[in-house]
Amino acid sequence: MAGAVNLLVQSHPINSALSLIVVMASLAAEYLLLGAEFVAAVQVIVYAGAIMVLFLITIMLLNAGKEERTKGSRVATLIGVPGVMIGAVLVAWTLVGRSSTTHSVPIGALWGAPKDIARLLFRDFLLPFEVTSVLILIAIMGAVVLASRPEAIARTHHRPEPQEERELVAAGKDR
């Protein structure tokens, strides 16, 4: 929770990213408490290890700086903070109010073994599994296309004339 709040409070994105990593790590601990060992491991590896690293790379690549405080952000903070706090209270109240129907969760016993999860994944949830793999493929392709330089794309479509080719080479604009 502290990490979450810190994410909001910090003005430099690097700091926000680091506090998010803190959140991820603590969540992994929570998962272990709930007995989901596989999920905890995946959380650390994928989320904290891959996704956050990606975020950090992007932040450093783009030289993101501190955010300035403008009039708009002041307004947003003024409205947003109380509003969302009300929302938080509402959510909490609802959930606690229904706590009569939920009972306690035991701590400790690790029952989410990878073997069992694998059994589910490849048997009952095979279709979603395959679909998500296609989804990842698409995401990869999309990321490659989006992030590449426009001239590079154009050049894959267009075979330059010898004249153009010479010009491009001269301008240093070829690959």
Binding site: G72, A76, G87, L90, T94
Partner: protein, 665 residues
């Protein structure tokens, strides 16, 4: 008689002619148009003759039904045609006189550009008139009624480029419509109370009802409303104002529609409804009063008119008044008799007037005519026959019919000597103005000689003026071609002999089964005749004297001492002005009805409703849509965070709603 099962063919023949000429006439040569128009009209006439030949009173009436037109609960109306003595008479008159006028128009309209249109409209009119006359129920009659009004509008405004002609056509149609309103209400009453519009049913139902005493009742109402319709169609007070203006149309139109046939539709309708009127004495009285007053009123206006066609127009109104007077005193067959003779002599008068106008190059003002009997002998002869007829000289046609009316007005149980007296006075005035016309046109010196040049220039200016001047005649008045004179001669012969069918009451006997005033009336009649033979002879002499007096007066004023009329007119001053301006009735109507209607329409309906409500509703709703979208536009700011804000707000609303409603387990 199997021929009567083809009764429906009679109206359809001219309709076919109208369709052919109307749709294809533009491409057809003159001769083809003429042939089509004349063949179909003539065929209708021939069929009418054949029907007449095979007609026998014993097996009348014939009807020819096409089942299944309107069905609504118990009420039904079919396309049915009907031939009894009354419709046979009308049929012969309409087809006969119509055919003659078609022939005449061939010559009269020969050089007009809209020749095919004219012939098509004439045939169309014949179709509607025949539908009206041959109808077996009021609704089919109403089709014909409206249709002749339409044809009249088309033909009056034939030279529609002329503003006055177009306005006259509109006036005719609108005034007709006012009358039609009354007619329709009468039809509605009939439907409600008798459950049918068929003549046989209605009259049978009516005959079971008792005679209504003076005062309002169902039959009185129906009768009065029918009279309103008749007043509109047959130009009686107060709806006569369209007929003089209708002279804007070509002369054959005036002859056919406004003398011989259409305007007599009202008389026919009233006669057809005789069963209703006989049981509603109040309505009959109103009919008689209206007719008599109109006769007198129109005759007085006719004295002071200078346009030859206007004189004849007012004369028509006046003669129609005679017919209504006859119907109003219960002498329906006398009214129909006069209708028939009137068709002959009035048609002849108009056609001859057209011949005169045609011969002097389009001039219609009598003050510019004169001495034409030397130039147009045949026209002169035929017109003289007609003039003497209308004045009521024996043994010409109208003498018999007019005398019959006057006698019945005097002697009938519904009549009174007041009607007779006014009738005689009107006869005197009629004779006077007709001979005035006769003398002014044909005698004396030709006053138009020096104006021939002007007339030519004038006619050239009015490109669509009456008759034509492109004959290339530089010389003065001339006789018309034989295609125009032939019908004149025919009608003259009919004017002479046409009245002889009425001698000895034969005509009345013929029509008696229709009017079923039947045995009682005839017995009354013969009793009255026997007793009043002397009275009748006396009255007859009085009316002939009136006619002769009129002749003498006109002779004096317009031939012997032509300077007198002007002096008299100057002496009478304002009275003369009023008469010559038609008693300012048109102006009165304009102030009373037309102007308020137009103003009200402009202010309330146009500005108020159309612009203020309807246009405003449409425009304002468009403006409102624009304002709404102007304000909603701000949601699309392009700012990512505002979008996010909207999303969050929406999600919060949904979640709140779900929490509030309670998520079902």
């Amino acid at each position: 008689m199997t021929l009567t099962s083809y009764l429906w063919v009679v109206p359809l023949l001219p309709l076919t002619g109208a369709a052919l000429n109307g749709f294809f006439g533009r491409q057809l040569p003159r001769k083809a148009i003429t042939a089509i128009a004349l063949i179909f009209c003539g065929a209708a006439f021939v069929m009418a003759l054949a029907l007449a030949a095979g007609f026998s009173s014993a097996s009348a009436p014939y009807s020819c039904d096409f089942k299944h037109w309107l069905r609504s609960g118990d009420f039904q109306v079919d396309f049915s045609f009907y031939l009894d003595q009354l419709s046979l008479v009308m049929l012969l008159v309409v087809t006969g006189v119509g055919f003659l006028i078609h022939i005449y128009s061939v010559g009269y309209m020969a050089e007009d550009d809209g020749y095919y249109r004219f012939m098509a409209y004439l045939n169309l009119f014949m179709f509607f008139m025949l539908t009206l006359v041959l109808a077996k129920n009021y609704l089919v009659m109403f089709i014909g009624w409206e249709g002749v009004g339409l044809a009249s509008y088309l033909l009056i405004g034939f030279w529609f480029i002329k503003d006055s002609a177009a306005a006259a056509g509109k006036k005719a149609f609108i005034v007709n419509r006012i009358g039609d309103f009354g007619f329709l209400i009468a039809l509605f009453l009939m439907i409600k109370h008798f459950g049918s519009l068929d003549f046989t049913h209605v009259f049978a139902a009516v005959r079971t009802l008792p005679t209504e005493s003076a005062g309002a009742g169902l039959l009185t109402s129906i009768g009065l409303l029918l009279m309103v319709g008749a007043a509109g169609k047959s130009a009686q007070i107060p709806l006569y104002v369209w007929l003089p203006d209708a002279m804007e149309g070509p002369t054959p139109v005036s002859a056919l529609i406004h003398a011989a046939t259409m305007v007599t539709a009202g008389v026919y309708m009233v006669s057809r409804s005789s069963a209703i009127f006989e049981r509603a004495p109040m309505a009959m009285m109103v009919v008689a009063i209206v007719g008599t007053l109109t006769a007198l009123f129109a005759a007085t206006i006719g004295i002071a008119q200078t346009d030859i066609k206007k004189v004849l127009a007012y004369s028509t109104v006046s003669q129609l008044g005679y017919m209504f007077m006859a119907c109003g005193v219960g002498a329906f067959s006398a009214g129909i008799f006069h209708l028939m003779t009137h068709a002959f002599f009035k048609g002849l008068l108009f056609l001859a007037a057209g011949s005169v106008i045609h011969g002097i190059g389009g001039e219609q003002d009598m003050r510019k005519m004169g001495g034409l009997r030397a130039y147009m002998p045949v026209t002169f002869l035929t017109m003289s026959v007609a003039t003497f007829t209308i004045a009521g000289f024996p043994p010409l046609a109208a003498y018999f019919s007019k005398d019959e009316i006057l006698w019945k007005a005097y002697s009938s149980p519904n009549g009174s000597w007041v009607f007779w007296l006014i009738g005689v006075i009107t006869a005197f005035i009629t004779s006077f103005y007709m001979f005035r016309l006769w003398f002014l046109t044909f005698f004396g010196d030709y006053r138009g000689a020096e104006a021939t040049q002007d007339a030519k220039h004038q006619s050239a200016a009015h490109a669509t003026h009456d008759a034509t001047d492109q004959h290339g005649h530089g010389h003065g008045p001339h006789e018309s071609p034989w295609v125009m004179l032939g019908p004149l001669v025919m009608l003259a012969i009919l004017s002479i002999v046409g009245g002889w069918v009425g001698i000895g009451g034969r005509f009345e006997h013929f029509l008696a089964p229709v009017f079923q005033s039947g045995a009682a009336e005839l017995a009354h009649e013969s009793a009255g005749e026997a007793a009043g033979q002397g009275t009748e002879t006396l009255l007859m002499l009085i009316s002939v004297t009136a006619a002769v007096l009129g002749f003498l007066l006109a002779w004096t004023l317009y031939l012997r001492r032509p300077q007198l009329p002007a002096r008299i007119a100057a002496g009478l001053g304002a009275l003369y002005d009023a008469v010559s301006h038609k008693y300012y009735i048109d102006e009165l109507y304009a102030v009373l009805f037309v102007k308020p209607l137009i103003d009200g329409s402009t202010t309330i309906l146009w500005h108020g409703v159309d612009q203020g409500v309807i246009d405003a509703a449409v425009n304002d709703s468009a403006t409102a849509a624009r304002h709404v979208s102007d304000n909603a536009r701000h949601m699309q700011s392009g700012n990512l965070r505002s979008y996010a804000g909207w999303v969050a707000a929406g999600a919060a609303v949904v979640i709140a709603y779900m929490v509030w409603m309670g998520v079902p387990r």
